[in-house]
């Protein structure tokens, strides 16, 4: 253990607790009180310069008349809350907000549910099968988003796609030449499949690692008490891993809610707006219509909506951390 090595400490440090005179001790305490702030300073500086500042600029743009001309030439005029007014007056916007919630809910439920299943499965598998499955999960996680999205586009092609081929081969003739990308619900389904497929590895591997920390004895005694598999999960596994489930769910909510490249590449939010979520909506407005002002307003609303959705989580976090101090 390196802890046992006696290292001579530099003079000026507060390490020599017993020997230091009172004045030095007080100075030391003041220094040690400054330490945490010094330690977080770089992170805070980074956040302020590279996140908060651009965010404030975006907020500024959202109250300006800022389109292609203003982007190129500058001189954007202040228009107050006009953009927000325009946004909230549009029926499409509210439909998009609702759709974003549905999108997030469907994906997160599937991701957390399936990942739990896969994690429990990993726990029970033999060594070789487990290694194989874990390697495959790693492989999927490592596949670049753009590459994975392109492959899915390819898999679900209506005439030459292998999915229709397989389904038709299974006797489901109606899938012969089925146009996945033409139907809103089908498109939504393909996107859910893609996002769930990409997200399961991270959640499953993490949950599995969590499961391995649960002492085996707990399971055994529960089984001796005659508890079935589901009861064991509900009474022992889940309560023990509750913080972990909470964290993963919160992270997945954020990631799925903000999910953009997959949707954009596969459907551009179509057909007929059926897959337009808030980030896609913001991008569409900003980048294809060059309404940077309105797009920024959407982004601001997105942040607020997301924060509101997770406010319980944040509050619990604050309370928890506060209790520790």
């Amino acid at each position: 253990m390196p802890a046992a090595t006696h290292a001579p400490a530099p003079e000026a440090d507060s390490g020599h607790r017993h020997a230091a005179p009172p004045a030095a001790r007080r100075a030391g305490r003041r220094l040690s009180r400054a330490w945490p702030y010094l330690l977080i300073a770089p992170a805070v500086a980074g956040g302020v310069l590279l996140l908060l500042y651009p965010l404030l600029r975006a907020a500024l743009i959202s109250v300006q008349h800022f389109r292609m001309r203003e982007l190129i030439r500058g001189g954007a005029a202040f228009v107050g809350l006009d953009n927000y007014r325009e946004l909230t007056a549009a029926a499409e916007f509210w439909a998009v907000v609702l759709r974003t919630f549905a999108w997030t809910a469907v994906n997160v439920v599937l991701i957390v549910g399936l990942s739990t299943g896969v994690a429990l499965m990993l726990l029970r598998l033999g060594r070789r099968m487990r290694t194989a499955l874990m390697s495959v999960l790693a492989l999927v996680w490592a596949t670049p988003v753009i590459a994975a999205t392109t492959v899915f586009q390819w898999l679900f092609q209506s005439e030459l796609g292998v999915v229709n081929r397989l389904l038709a081969g299974l006797g489901l003739d109606s899938f012969q030449g089925y146009s996945w990308f033409a139907n809103g619900t089908a498109m939504f389904g393909v996107l859910v499949a893609l996002v769930v497929w990409q997200s399961v590895p991270f959640a499953a591997l993490t949950l599995y690692a969590g499961l391995t920390t649960v002492p085996v004895e707990l399971y055994e005694s529960a089984r001796l008490d005659g508890a079935g598999g589901w009861q064991v999960f509900r009474r022992i596994t889940f309560p023990l891993l509750r913080p972990m489930f909470a964290l993963i769910t919160a992270l997945e909510v954020i990631w799925v809610f903000k999910c953009f490249p997959q949707i954009w590449v596969l459907s551009q939010g179509g057909p007929d707006g059926a897959t337009t979520t808030l980030p896609v909506y913001a991008f569409k407005i900003a980048r294809t219509l060059h309404r940077y002002d309105l797009g920024s307003a959407v982004a601001m609303v997105t942040v607020v909506v997301l924060a509101a959705a997770l406010v319980g989580n944040l509050r619990r976090m604050l309370a928890q951390e506060g209790a520790e101090t």
Binding site: A3, P54, R124, A138, I146, K258, P261, F283, L318, E324
Partner: protein, 274 residues
């Protein structure tokens, strides 16, 4: 017990097949001649395997430059995020101070940042400060994108290292930095590597900012740009795109296989400590 075992393994096999199929299809397509890719009866195995698509992908203009840029930008961003996060995570995990709760919540909230919507403001800021066409600016953005998650994860790893070990070192006369360097750091190293993986994947994949921050000096573009370059007015060269995607996934994969076991454990430790 036997039938259960079989059912379990069958289920695992089914999951495995479904998960791997898209990746398998990507690799197989990369090895098929173009004429076979458009076949109406897609073959599960390339009848006439070819490496021509890999040749196209590697032969593309600027391939090695993009490769170098990607490694440089991703590496620098991840490294910077690790160092900065380590300091912050230490403060959060080991010290008690006013504003600590607020800081943690802010870090968590920072993950909600709508990066796609920040393209325009970041572009404007970069332009007005003469930082267009600069890898440094790109690195800074990637640093910031990966920072919040890195802090959250690292804090978990740190919390998993018992504070008592560190205390013991302090009692033995080590200074705080020395105790950290000699005692905590060795225990933390696997966690650091695992955390870097996530940042690596995120930064390695990013392409939207390259498109608006690197404009004229195209020698500064990164690999994702190359990945989408096998597409012209006639359509995408799927074989080359799939070959490029395969090559693109390789570094992450290698890193992953190398670090795999530690990743989950660390995440778990962090999450359980909450």
């Amino acid at each position: 017990m036997r039938p259960r075992r079989i059912a379990l393994n069958a289920a695992a096999l089914a999951v495995l097949t479904v998960m791997i199929f898209p990746v398998y299809w990507m690799v197989v397509t990369a090895f098929k001649p173009t004429a076979d890719i458009q076949s109406e009866t897609p073959a599960l195995w390339p009848a006439r395997p070819t490496v021509e698509h890999f040749a196209t992908a590697i032969g593309a203009e600027g391939f090695w430059t993009f490769w170098r840029n990607s490694l440089l930008v991703t590496g620098a961003a991840v490294l910077a995020a690790l160092v900065v996060s380590l300091l912050a995570a230490f403060a959060v995990a080991r010290m008690r101070w006013r504003g600590r709760g607020a800081f943690i919540v802010a870090v968590f909230a920072a993950q909600m940042a709508p990066w796609e919507a920040l393209l325009v403001p970041v572009f404007v800021i970069a332009r007005d400060s003469g930082l267009l066409d600069s890898l440094a600016m790109l690195t800074g953005v990637y640093f910031m994108i990966t920072l919040p998650f890195t802090i959250v994860t690292l804090r978990g790893f740190l919390a998993a290292v018992p504070a008592e070990i560190e205390e013991a070192a302090l009692v033995d006369g080590c200074t705080r930095p020395a105790a950290f360097r000699r005692v905590v750091f060795p225990l933390l190293a696997p966690g650091l590597m695992a955390t870097s993986l996530f940042g690596f994947i995120t930064a390695w994949n990013e392409f939207a900012f390259v498109n608006v921050l690197i404009i004229k000096d195209q020698g500064k573009r990164t690999l994702p740009v190359w990945l989408s370059s096998f597409r012209d007015v006639f359509g995408a060269d799927w074989g080359a795109t799939m070959a490029a995607a395969t090559l693109f996934a390789l570094p992450v994969l290698v890193l992953f296989l190398f670090l795999q076991r530690r990743v989950g454990v660390g995440m778990a430790a962090g999450a359980v400590k909450g």
